[in-house]
């Protein structure tokens, strides 16, 4: 009954049996608590991702057997397809815009709102509301208000900027930026709330002390607020990058990546090839590339930006 490794150490001190059964019991307990979650996680998260790597090496329609092995052919095709490299570029443009445009907006508003004023709670609720709407609903709302002569166009006209009106979703050079505006509308409130929560955690005494030393408001923001807000800012940046790289719902509903692939993201490109054209092998290769890009960026970010904040397992794994 006793497993050889367990008995040696304890044999001298205690009688074998109780120690052994306690050990068995403990193992059963552990299995009871761990196995269900682990099975779930392995079967529905890790296994499919490994399968994606597997499928990506075949030419496969999703039906029948995996037999047409093409090696890295799908990957080569993907990188030779200007539509796909364009999609990667779009994702990176969105990453850059998110960091450069959304962050100052969110920080400015959060700093401004971080004081008692009448209607503060209402303002927080309003700003946060778009975040709780699904991207699908957001997409439909914006499709409707961006229609030619719709709410957005009328808005421009009413403030005398009628000349600036464009075909927001049909202009090849503009559609990606229109998409970015919608993303900002939906997600900037989340940034504001996040930063506000971070601001609340900064002890007031620091500002009082700095004020006594004669520091100006801007100096305080620069040397006290921003550094202490660092962890929140860096986490926000992380979420923003990952979100921008995986953008799908909004784009798929609003433009399906069009017109002429001008708003394609890696995810819409993958969906289009995998599910619409039934090229599961090729679609999987695209998914793997998407994964590698996000993973690499995430690790770089963890290593160089987040390292100071997290002492979690991820950091350890990243080195």
């Amino acid at each position: 009954m006793s497993s050889p490794s367990t008995s040696l150490r304890t044999a001298g001190r205690r009688s074998l049996r109780p120690a052994d059964s306690a050990r068995r019991r403990r193992r059963l307990e552990l299995a009871f608590f761990i196995v269900p979650a682990l099975v779930f996680y392995l079967a529905l998260v890790l296994y499919p991702i490994l399968q994606a790597v597997h499928y990506s090496l075949f030419n496969w329609s999703g039906l029948g057997t995996l037999s047409d092995f093409v090696g890295i052919g799908n990957y080569r095709d993907a990188f030779n397809d200007p539509e796909f490299t364009g999609a990667i570029k779009h994702n990176f443009i969105l990453v850059g815009l998110s960091l450069v445009v959304q962050f100052p907006i969110a920080l400015g508003v959060a700093l401004l709102l971080n004081r008692p004023f009448r209607g503060r709670r209402a303002a927080r609720i309003v700003f946060f509301a778009p975040y709780v709407l699904s991207e699908a609903i957001t997409a439909v709302i914006w499709l409707l208000i961006l229609q030619p002569d719709g709410l957005v166009d009328r808005g421009f006209q009413s403030v005398g900027l009628g000349g600036a009106v464009q075909l927001w979703l049909a202009d090849l050079n503009l559609v990606l930026f229109t998409m970015f505006v919608v993303i900002t509308w939906k997600y900037v409130g989340f940034g504001i709330i996040l930063l506000l929560a971070g601001l609340q955690g900064i002890p007031q005494e620091l500002h009082e002390a700095a004020a006594i030393d004669g520091a100006k408001s801007w100096t305080m923001v620069r040397y006290i607020t921003l550094p202490l807000l660092g962890p929140t800012i860096r986490i926000w940046g992380f979420l923003s990058i990952i979100g921008s790289l995986q953008l799908f719902d909004l784009v798929w509903i609003m433009t399906q990546g069009g017109p002429a692939e001008a708003s394609n993201t890696m995810a819409t490109y993958m969906f289009n090839n995998g599910f619409v054209r039934y090229e599961f092998g090729y679609g999987s290769a695209v998914a793997v590339i998407l994964f590698i890009i996000s993973f690499a960026l995430a690790l770089i970010y963890q290593r160089f930006v987040l390292r100071r904040d997290t002492r979690g397992a991820l950091t350890r794994m990243a080195g």
Binding site: L44, I49, R115, V126, A136, V140, L144, W185, S294
Partner: protein, 291 residues
């Protein structure tokens, strides 16, 4: 981490003026008005547009309802497909959230209050999941769900959602459960409480705030999901709300007023849920995110 999750929801500290003298109150309200306007006007447009006819909208894309029409709303409310989608979304969110709480709390318990070889490796494997997006897994998941025979079935959406929700759940719950002093556990053991008893009668009740946070995050996530329902649910009778709204928009593209009404009604559940659980959602998200 544990502290932030614990307190973020309930913390009501007085706000502190940071850039106090930099701006006056005027600017606070000006910014609130501009941002509030940008946020609310599109939503209001949808709600009001639902009270107009497509003819009115075609003639004057932006305008007040004149006369006010309720038929768009009533026809959505009386249609079975809308309620069907609400029910589908609710069912899937409930299954996903329950599974996440059940599986997440038990594995977090093992990871926080047992010493065993490979514990940190196991924890790393779970946290790694944060970097494994559904987008990457979705093609093989489709094949897997088809193989198991749960395409076009609420389980086909709820089960993967629960699995993909596990990493963040473990990350939130583990430090929380760890923070419970071992004296409590010893005392319980002294009184004859088994490990299961301790988990069930003491640790879970103590972890309630974190469990609520985790459950609410799971519900929000599931309620808003699009990609997974899009691939897993083919027949219109199984559609969830986000899927339904997107389908409705393509199906009735000529009838703008109907789309507006449908979209307006679809926003309500999420907004009501948000208003009811605002503190916890905001606190949970910022707590979860603050790490």
């Amino acid at each position: 981490m544990s502290a932030s999750v614990l307190t973020a929801g309930s913390r009501r500290r007085r706000a502190q003026p940071i850039a106090g003298r930099l701006f006056s109150k005027f600017w606070v309200y000006a910014v609130c008005a501009v941002f509030g306007g940008i946020t609310i006007v599109p939503l209001a447009y949808v709600v009001l547009g639902g009270f107009r006819t497509t003819g009115q909208i075609a003639a004057h894309p932006v305008g007040w309802p004149h006369p006010w029409i309720t038929s768009n709303y009533t026809s959505v409310i009386t249609s079975s497909s809308f309620w069907r989608q609400v029910a589908n979304s609710l069912l899937i969110a409930a299954i996903a959230a329950s599974l996440i709480v059940a599986l997440g709390s038990s594995v977090a318990y093992a990871l926080s209050r047992y010493e065993f070889r490979g514990r940190e490796v196991l924890y790393t494997v779970f946290t790694l999941g944060l970097l494994l997006p559904l987008t990457v897994a979705v093609l093989p998941l489709y094949i897997e769900l088809r193989h198991v025979g749960i395409l076009d079935n609420p389980l086909g959406v709820a089960l993967p959602e629960a699995a993909f929700g596990l990493p963040v759940t473990v990350i939130i719950l583990r430090p929380f459960m760890r923070a419970v002093p071992s004296d409590v556990e010893d005392a319980a053991a002294m009184d004859g409480c088994s490990k299961f008893g301790f988990f069930w009668r003491i640790l879970l009740p103590l972890s309630r705030p974190a469990l609520m946070t985790v459950a609410i995050l799971a519900v929000v996530q599931s309620w808003n999901a699009f990609l997974l329902p899009l691939i897993a649910l083919n027949s219109p009778s199984e559609a969830t709300i986000p899927l339904g709204v997107a389908n409705y928009q393509t199906e009735y593209s000529q009838d703008t007023a109907a789309i507006l009404a449908y979209t307006a009604l679809s926003m309500i559940p999420a907004l009501v849920f948000f208003l009811a659980a605002e503190r916890r959602i905001v606190g949970g998200l910022s707590g979860a995110v603050k790490g």
